[in-house]
Symmetry: D2
């Protein structure tokens, strides 16, 4: 996972800043002959697109994918597949004196420490727009993994509203703008977010993710274990502060006799699946179970204390177009990342066949 590249055999390199010409991705190492065209990619981009409800940023980007290389006649060539999404709705003037202050809980301060660069409009490279390249690549990873592969993420908590039920079979979009997993608590969850918005505030949340339809045997000990790579994939998303696999933190309170999953003939049914589909860093073939915590959106319109580029105390109010809760959109990106991890390990495993 060097810098802006992810993966060993399926190598995904994202590029782009919030307010430059565009964002995109180069996907190298692809098999040839895969059916990939702009529609395949656009479908996933549309799922993460802003502007679809009162709970996501009203920034109206069309986020239209253009394939620059790597396909001919709707099939991959085996060469680097490049996808570009132009930035079309930048309003740099929104930023004003923000470019001279470090917004709390944003990357402005650490980019300054690392690169010696002043805050960039919209966060520059640290903007959520970087994830467009990931979602585009994830769409291609799904094609590699085939029709049996399935990955779905649902929001299981927003603020203090915690789903009692994990329901992944929801229609996303206007009908469930928060992608909240518990139908009975959806309204309550929306109220939680709305209350924060009214108070110029934001909320955190939790996302649960399930994946199935891939083989046992994926993952590369010792350091490139499936759970290690998944952990890296999820923690590489801005705002993720915790990741669990299988039982997660609950495992700490279990005894071995409770926790250990019973292995059944053909490995077809592991009723408990406390392992979450991974043992020794390698997939068991059971359902992959992940869960991650997302911090509240850092951009809030309340007045906050911070410092400026001049290292003096000052205050800042971050106005503009921001999601009050990152979860609904980060859920889609997490699906893409999990697909990328599994597709890469799938290709790696083929060397042994």
């Amino acid at each position: 996972m060097p810098f802006s590249t992810f993966g060993e055999l399926l190598r995904v390199t994202t590029f782009g800043e919030s307010h430059g010409a565009g964002v995109g991705v180069v996907i190298d190492g692809l098999p040839s002959g895969l059916p990939v065209d702009e529609a395949v990619i656009q479908k996933e981009l549309d799922r993460r697109r802003p502007g679809t409800s009162k709970f996501v940023s009203p920034r109206k980007e069309s986020d239209t994918a253009e394939i620059l290389s790597g396909t001919a006649n709707g099939k991959t060539l085996g060469t680097p597949l490049t996808i570009l999404v132009r930035n079309t709705n930048q309003r740099s003037k929104d930023y004003g004196d923000l470019l001279e202050k470090f917004r709390p809980s944003h990357a402005d301060y650490t980019y300054f420490k690392k690169y010696d660069t002043a805050p960039q409009p919209g966060g520059g490279r640290s903007s959520g727009r970087e994830t467009i390249g990931r979602v585009a690549a994830g769409a291609v990873a799904r094609v590699i993994l085939g029709d049996e592969f399935n990955v779905q993420a649902a929001v299981s908590a927003v603020g203090r509203v915690v789903a009692g039920k994990l329901d992944f079979n929801f229609a996303a979009g206007e009908n469930n703008p928060l992608r909240f997993s518990d139908p009975e608590l959806r309204e309550k969850a929306e109220d939680e977010v709305w209350a924060a918005m009214q108070n110029l505030d934001s909320v955190g949340g939790v996302v649960d993710l399930r994946a199935s339809g891939f083989a046992a045997g994926l993952g590369e000990p010792a350091f490139d274990k499936l759970d290690a790579r998944l952990g890296a994939a999820l923690f590489s998303l801005g705002g993720v502060k915790g990741v669990e696999i299988g039982s997660g933190f609950a495992a700490a309170r279990q005894r071995g006799s409770e926790y250990n999953d019973t292995i059944t003939p053909d490995g077809t049914i592991w009723p408990s699946n406390n392992s979450g589909g991974v043992l020794g860093g390698i997939s068991t073939g059971q359902e992959l179970r992940l869960r991650f915590a997302v911090k509240p959106t850092p951009s809030i319109s309340q007045k906050q204390m911070t410092i400026g580029l001049d290292n003096k105390e000052t205050s800042v109010e971050v106005h503009g177009r921001h999601d009050p809760c990152l979860c609904p959109r980060i859920a889609v990106v997490a699906e893409a990342m999990v697909a990328l991890v599994l597709a890469d390990f799938y290709l790696l495993q083929k060397r042994f066949r």
Copy 2:
């Protein structure tokens, strides 16, 4: 993090199985002139060594480090530093019919699916002995990071006993064999483990870790963020099922106005440090705060249902020498991994100077 190698510029490759000739590590990319001899390494190996209390496996390995290459006159040469620890106390006969069955919650089953190999004595490569190489490398990473660097891990929960207080200033070893962080609850924690042992059972737990004395600016967006690499490092340890950074899952319940850390002049004091020392994948210069959950030791002497190599149902009892709780030892390994991550990013950051 390809296969058995970890790191970009500080490249650590571990090798070895539980019952082969030995385990060890090659550390490539080291600066020259660092003071490293066998004593530097042995000191850390002794901290993770079994056989020091009733709560760790009575397997009496001396775990003696031999430097095979990479130093002369007690200084690194800039060439690959290789450390070998011979296996001396293997009792393959302990394993008996275990080698024809998949132990629940062990890697036997997934190694079989991946490599088409039968269970190996002691788990083979998936044995905890693989971490000897990591601890040895971590000792070298501490030298790179210098005297100001400090990393310490403490066990903050075993089973249902949860520390109320995080105390990292304990003397390890016989005085506190569980490395438990709360002095007032130490006895209770030991009782919890002892009760499980009496019942032929094991317990999980939680480890908290703190690191300080390193610069702001470490970490490499987009995919090789500091938190992403730390997440991978910790999830690459067998038995870790959850990882938190800063507020962790608690962040999901916070509002932005509560969560956001106030940045103060010179970045010297961020009183809340909910970010745990990382923003945008880059170190803020504040204390690094990590927490991870460890599953109960999979090897228990109770009778468990499983399948054999013949894919038929059978039962298994895992006797032999096993820690009833992995936490005290994994804490030492986690310190090593965090040191490796930070040393690597430290070397990477120097390219910008």
Copy 3:
């Protein structure tokens, strides 16, 4: 050097096919604050551009560079720098039945064996247009290496006309369309190429390259030696069949007492420099001396025997726009590759400071 990516810390990923939307490059790992804008890149692209004399292909591409990401206000941000050159002058209809036959000495056959893809218009990914991304990246590498750095390549043989003198101080372009190094033999060299053209044939040649103005100590033993990486860089250019460093093949005929370079105080003058600037895979600080052989342009209009996609014998005549000698253009690309290698090792070496 995985797939379409080159370099360890300065990571260059090229993309694009001859007849897709365009070609380009993502440059990751860049320091921030470097003065890079489109003019810096365009200057080098113009040096390799076709259409400037009777000896290069009359395909009139403007080859205009657009920076998609990685800079703001004419300075690098430390984020991936992406450069796109649209393909504007594709004439796919030129290809006709060529897409059903394997052109001799082209990559059509091997791409078919590797990717199971039919021949692509213009060679697709194997087209020389892929090198546009390299030249663009090389322009940025020169900025990293600074004003003292100098690299220059000159054509020292075309066909049977071999330069007696290596003169790198020529003005390129119309005045010397072959970039031939020996002023006295320039006309003869042009006659050689012209004679081949009249005969619907092509010629090979040799390029000599010199670089200076970089430090001693660059290169990474054991496998990533400076000469190893330079060898890879040059052999990664289509048509290169031989590479020499320093004395090259002449060293095979020398005795040690003749070959060994005398080291002088301060390492300032090694009069002989048979080593070509590299010892033990590490730069000595002396001038880097490389030489490489280029095969004749594979596309010739003469009738040649080959096979088709149906595996049956057939004949082929490759008409269209092709340089009769690859050397003048590959010389510019070689300069870029050498700059990339040295810039990467320069950044790597900084980790020891």
Copy 4:
């Protein structure tokens, strides 16, 4: 090819100095179930071992391979395979004041510039003993490639004696200590070397190499082309100053109509094979043809001018045990490197099946 590691999926990391505890190699990414034991490795080590004729160094190392990890019951486990060869016949006292001077044409000077380390006994890491790990790994690579795979190198020139005939069917060892390819010129070649030895001098030479019995389709455009990786592999051997593939430098003098290889049905016969088995960086399935130039052994007993660590002029005579011509031994190492390259690309190509 980062630092001391070579390969993408078959990752070979060599370690060790001339006068440390030993040299060796970790081979990661291996398939499981391959028949590998110490005898398989020892066989190849014995081919490169010194002490077998008057033309190789009389240093009597037994070079005995010990497998430290990665196999059980004579089969690979899929885990890192580590091989250690102890150094047994070091005579550090031979070196005397050599450790304060830079031997001409050795790596002493550049290691000093890179690592700030004084010359090490026997050259330390830059010693030819580093290649023991390569040869050991090459033995394993041959097992991966299977019985049909064949690679053979022969010395085709020593000093001014150039083979008229390439004969690879010789028995190595005492019968042909120079591995010289032309039976009629063997005696003359031996006289050439002997004459140099009498004069306290050394000779260079040329090695030709052929490989066959592997598939078409191997190699990874754009930067990791088969010829690029082979070039890197050969130039990573100390003393190699030139590499040719197929026609090599002769291609520069050919016209396209002469050079272009005719493709025949099924790709079975390419009579000319000027390409040397590679087109567009991908194997054609034809015989691989390589040729490389080796400089004269740098260690000669004649008095040479150089400088010391104090940067003052001085003279040096390099006595001790040195081969008068590197070719016979480097030929064996080159075979190993070619096997490693092909085995890696073979594993990589399987991801497309």
